[in-house]
Amino acid sequence: MAKLYIFGIGGTGSRVIRSLTMLLAAGVRVPNCDKVVPIIIDPDAQNGDMARTVELLKTYERLRKQLRLTPDSNDFFQTEIQTLASMAASENQPRDARVKETFVYNFGGMDESYRDFLHYDDMPVESRLLVDLLFTPANLQSKLTVGFKGSPNVGSVVLNQLVSSPEMEFFANSFAEGDRVFFISSIFGGTGAAGFPLLLKNLRNPRTALPRAELLNHAPMGALSVLPYFNLLADDGSAIDSNAFITKTKAALAYYQKNLQKLNALYYLGDQSTGQLANHEGGSAQQNNAHFIELVGALSVLDFMRQDTDYLLNNQPLHYEYGLEEDVRQVDFKALDPGQSRRLVGPDLTRLQLLALWCRHHLADTEQATYANHLQLRRAWREENFYLDLQRFLQDPQFGFETWLRELNSNERQFAPFALPATEDLNKVVNGQFTETGFFNKGITRDFVRVKLDKAIPAAVTGAEGPTAFIQAFSDVLRDVVTEKVPGF
């Protein structure tokens, strides 16, 4: 069973993984892979973006654990997402007690300053002078609790501890033939810009102390490097100045050009149509609205996985960029390439939106329907963990699918595939792709969908099989509804 290990480094890493999780929930398949193992690397333990991505991943993992889906279908939540520890447990690999059951690399609560981290005061004077040359006094005084505040020179030192960590050793031990690695980071910040090349260098190092070095050396590895796609409001009190994003990007690109070795595919993304976000150095306040670029970033993971292993290994390095079908400020499905992105995400995201609308507006009115009675949904929806988690996944105001869509819809550049605020009218779900109705054809009505669900679940389902039957029925029915009734896909 091939696995994809995704290292999401820094805030951008978390945000792209959030978008990828939404796509996987919608049933988008990751080619050549059955299981995704995200590893988020961010020293800012309180980071808002990371916190809600982790909550989302945990919710997804709990949901997925209760499903027994048919392999090779594309139901909601088809692809498994697991932590390193639970992945090892599910494959009967030996457990390492030092590796926690979490999606986040454990930095062990770094609450010291960078100066203390370096043991600056214990250094010989020559070393201190060298440190003074490489780092500003602000760098040295900076507390590491909120990350590297956009300083890759700090990150490249601190993140070296990663390589000798139990998590990395555990990762390498669990790495198998056919597995792949993908890195997601930004190039204009601190953590991602420093962490990605450092990780790559160490994983590809033929003399690495990590186990299974031979496998790691020859495994397909890809990366997404996100160029600036937002600006920050000017704040004299903040160490982060978005005016320096381009300069830092150029410097990092120059470094990458010479030092990125043995990467099989590299995806570059950026956007000049940038909105301005509040300036937070880190912590829980750093919680940026989801952005279209992050969704496209998630597509790079799918594109990388789509490629044949031999092609990746024999034609390196492959470089990719992304272009919209139309350069519009408000992106809907019609602005995406009909042969690729639109076909890949349009129907499945629409399906998930229909599920969200059904749960929000139509479920209560169909609680007595055949499908609901066979699933005992009236009770289960309020009491069973699976359904409570599903509601959280779709509706949580912090990390849920509906919130994600609202954020995408309100960002610059705006991604607005669906009519928002969402209405009960299922015929007007997809912007620019409304379902045609007439006197004899009412389009997608509540009863039209309900009858299909009734047919999909014609007999009583026992308690433990309920979640699987629910997901399979909704996946099949809403797929048919989109295919039959929503034009343009």
Binding site: Q368, T370, N373, D447
Partner: protein
């Protein structure tokens, strides 16, 4: 057989028909006729609810409340059938024999007819409930109406 079945059913609830001079018409015509009509009425309503409204057509009438409305309708129609059929058969009998009912007998007849009407409303409802459980498996959208059992 039907004659005996329905006669037994109605007389078990209502006792012997009153006035006694009309017992033959009740047993030979009214009880079996009304019973049979009521059965087919309940069957028709069950098929209407489970097959027409909830299989052939896509309607929103699948809930227990909708089923209860049809149940009530079957009771009302059952009562109507009983009253109409009994009144028509008795009038025909009286007309054909030239029999005149005494004042006391007319009041007794009316009381028995009301009882018969109410009983047949219950019988119609009972038939509809029983037939619902037989027919519901033919439905798509109301297979679990009014209760999930036996699905």
């Amino acid at each position: 057989m039907l004659q005996k079945l329905f006669t037994t059913l109605y007389q078990a609830v209502l006792g012997n028909p009153d006035p006694a001079s009309l017992i033959p018409v009740y047993r030979q015509s009214i009880f079996p006729g009304v019973g049979l009509y009521t059965f087919f009425l309940a069957l028709a309503l069950a098929l209407l609810f489970y097959v027409v409204l909830n299989r052939v057509l896509t309607t929103p009438y699948f809930k227990s409340s909708h089923w209860a409305v049809v149940l009530l309708l079957s009771a009302v129609l059952g009562a109507t059938i009983a009253w109409q059929k009994a009144a028509a058969d008795i009038n025909a009998q009286l007309a054909s024999t030239g029999q005149q009912l005494a004042v006391g007998e007319a009041a007794t007849l009316k009381r028995y007819l009301w009882g018969f009407t109410a009983t047949n409303a219950l019988v119609a409802a009972l038939f509809f409930v029983l037939l619902s459980f037989l027919v519901k498996s033919l439905s798509v959208s109301a297979r679990t109406t009014p209760v999930r059992w036996p699905n």
